[in-house]
Amino acid sequence: MKLEEYRGVWTLGEQRDGRIHTVSYELLAWGRSLADKLGVELATVILGHNLADQVQELIYRGADKVYVVDHPALAHFSVDPYARVLTALVREYRPEIFIASATTTGRTIMPVLAAKLRTGLTADCTGLDVDVESRQLLQTRPAIGGNVMATIITPNHRPAMATVRPKSRRPLPRDASRKGEIIFKRFDEKMFESRTRRLGFIRDETAESPVQDADVVVAGGKGLKDGRNFDMLFELAELLGGAVGASRMAVDMGWIPYSHQIGLSGKTVTPRLYLAIGISGAVQHLAGMSSSEVIVAINKDPDANIFKVSDFGIIGDLFEIVPLLIKRLREIKGKEGEGK
């Protein structure tokens, strides 16, 4: 494999029910910094049906090029046609880097694609950078149960492939003056055949936890000592207009459902405020929240890891502090209410 024949950064765009999903724009924010550093083009490839009127948005959000494959068989994610089409596109255009979001789609198609192309893939990166001289993609992720971070490269194969967590980066601001090229690719019908068939979809709104879209996340961990104590976190979250998250420990103890779990094996969040209560801050947890705008921690252990990533921390007893905080916030709310 001649590495120098591979140039450019690609992101995998994603659509759901025919609408471009925001993870596509988050990926462009990741891809833009890599492409600029390497001095190459940033392209998005997006597969779906009836997307033509939306793809310009990908340019406004940072893409230089958009490859669109539009076909009814691509309306919903299906491994066979997606893998065939993406393999063909990679072989034709040879990007050096190809990144996708770690959604169920990304986490399914990327290992399939990497196995077909016999190249390296790194899952759930929390950091992506490039070494300009060697043009290697530096893929950083929590490793070995989340105790440490590892930086991984794909030295001799291309494209270097990686996934990043949804919400791990904010999309770039929309810039409607950006210019780019949109290329509609056509393929032989055979390419769209699939061994599997989608028979239906059972919508379940509860499958989506509000925690991922919340501006404020109030998260609890082992320090809460009992599932019932999550009640005060829900109260606090309501006062702050947010949602409740939890560490893996709290979920494993059965204190709160998995949909609230923040971290490597749960959700990634980037709220304006992340309030960590009784959470020690294992690397695996930090991987899911360290990009939050403001981090506040309450923990009685002065050596807790969480304080190292906090903008504000209180070393103390959460059972004293949280009720006081709730009381003070209620007073403030009450005054605001009177003022209106």
């Binding site: 070995i144 149960g145 490269i153």
Partner: protein
């Protein structure tokens, strides 16, 4: 949750034994793991290990399927790892699998997800054919979830990820639910296929005493790279496209204001002030 005693699946034409395989991995039991500073890979020899907790759901689902087929199935457990990983295979046998194999060879050490998937796919070719292969969603050590889809790709069979329910099986086909964003997708696939199952699919059983005795008495053959006719350029470090180049403890990213809560009232007042400064309240 529908369990072992749920309604039997549609099993028209399942006249012969179904051949099921389950892929399992042994993972560190504790968070205290040692790393080889030279290669950046885990030192697997000095630690306590267990069967990957998420693989238990794959084992359980295979055993339930066998029960629902009135026993007309046989389940083969396949693992890859050091000699001690035989315990993970035995754990699966104690839950109701029939036999197991461990793929273990110095030359496999340092395999990344692609090299691992290749070795497992070779073992499956050797031990198969199988109608259905079960895998967990991911391991709790590597947390990549890449091996299952890669194995299916190398075997050129369909992969169904995030499987939360087997709706029906028979006539050489399977219908499953996939737990994806916003709900459950119902998908039909021909057999053979590989399923990566999620936690919500079942509640894994504890091994019975007789299961444990059976596991103790069952011999688990060890397969080498030669036994599976592996291409040496595709296994171990040599066959791994990815390389760990650095292992480090995450650096301190924020220099925040940390105060003592000895005076809780004062601490909360300061916190409220801070949240106001940042425009949050």
């Amino acid at each position: 949750m529908e369990g072992a005693f749920g309604p039997p699946p549609d099993r028209r034409d399942v006249g012969r034994m179904m051949r099921l395989a389950v892929l399992v991995k042994q993972v560190p039991a504790t968070d205290k793991v040692k790393i080889d500073p030279e290669t950046g890979t885990m030192l697997r020899t000095e630690m306590e290990a267990v069967i990957n907790p998420l693989d238990l759901y794959a084992v359980e689902e295979a055993v339930r399927l066998k029960e629902r087929l009135s026993g007309e199935a046989e389940i083969t457990v396949i693992s890859m790892g050091p000699a001690m990983a035989i315990e993970a295979v035995k754990d699966a046998i104690s839950m109701g699998c029939d036999r197991g194999y461990l793929l273990s060879d110095r030359r496999l050490a340092g395999s990344d997800t692609l090299a691992t998937a290749y070795a497992l796919s070779q073992a499956i070719r050797k031990l198969g054919p199988f109608d259905l292969i079960f895998a967990g969603e991911r391991t709790t050590d590597g947390e990549t979830g890449q091996v299952g889809p890669a194995v299916a790709t190398l075997l050129d069979i369909p992969v169904l990820t995030y499987v939360s329910k087997i709706e029906e099986i028979g006539d050489g086909r399977i219908v499953v639910h996939r737990a994806i964003e916003g709900g459950h997708e119902v998908v039909e696939s021909p057999l053979p296929a590989l399923l990566c199952v999620v936690k919500e699919i079942n509640e894994p059983r504890l091994p019975t005493l007789s299961g444990k005795i059976k596991a103790r008495e069952t011999e688990v053959p060890v397969l080498t790279a030669d036994d599976i006719e592996a291409d040496e350029s595709m296994i171990g470090l040599k066959g791994s496209p990815t390389r760990v180049v650095k292992i480090f403890y995450p650096k301190i990213t924020r220099e925040g204001e940390i105060i003592r809560g000895d005076d809780p009232e004062g601490a909360v007042d300061r916190l409220i002030e801070f949240l106001r400064e940042r425009g949050i309240i």
